[in-house]
Amino acid sequence: MALIIVKKSPSEKISEFLLNLALPQDKVLFVQDGVIFAACKNVKNLVKEGVELFALKEDFIARGFDEKDSEVTLVDYDGWAELIEKEEKVIS
């Protein structure tokens, strides 16, 4: 399935567009200002059931969030590289 990379903040239309694209079993990774999604209580409701959500830990922490504030799985750059290996398709 696909890895969808969301790098813009929740206030940008393109982020919503990308989240709508995710099919069950796709993975969504929030990076850069996209990590603001990871702190949204309702983030899981923004995607179809069965979509797995991740956020880049470095970008989340740098923006002043605490790891425990994340509603999604945090991964580091090595984890991002791993997601790239696993998913055949990248949408970004």
Binding site: K13, I14, N20, L21, A22, K89, V90, I91, S92
Partner: protein, 119 residues
């Protein structure tokens, strides 16, 4: 043969992304690649024949038309975005040979490409 989608979400006037998407798409024919272009959000404003960035000194969208015809590059726009801007069928420049895709078809549509580049 691999399929490549160039999707543009930025406004057609005053930024380079639609022209760059087509320049990229046309470059794909040198390899065994099949490109397509998709307009979403404000990029759909491009399809009106009255949309002319050259009026304010920017590069014309129409410079893509002869290559779209030559290569038969498929161009898509999202129905709901066309509706949002009240773009009617008879306003659309025929040279785009525009295909419409609805919002709920989008996930399957985008996944049908091997590579996706969004501008």
């Amino acid at each position: 043969m691999k399929k490549v989608l160039f999707a543009v979400y930025t406004s057609p006037v005053g930024s380079i992304w639609i022209n760059e998407a087509f320049r990229s798409a046309f470059g794909m024919y040198g390899e065994d690649l099949e490109p397509a272009v998709l307009f979403v959000e404000e990029a759909v404003l491009a399809v009106r024949s009255s949309c002319k960035p050259e009026l304010i000194g920017c590069l014309p969208l129409a410079m893509t038309f002869k290559y779209i015809e030559k290569y038969q590059t498929p161009v898509y726009a999202v129905k709901e975005d066309l509706d949002k801007f009240n773009i009617k069928e008879d306003e659309i420049a025929p040279q785009w040979n525009l295909k419409i895709v609805s919002k709920d078809e989008l996930p399957e549509f985008v996944h049908s490409f091997d590579k996706v580049v969004i501008f």
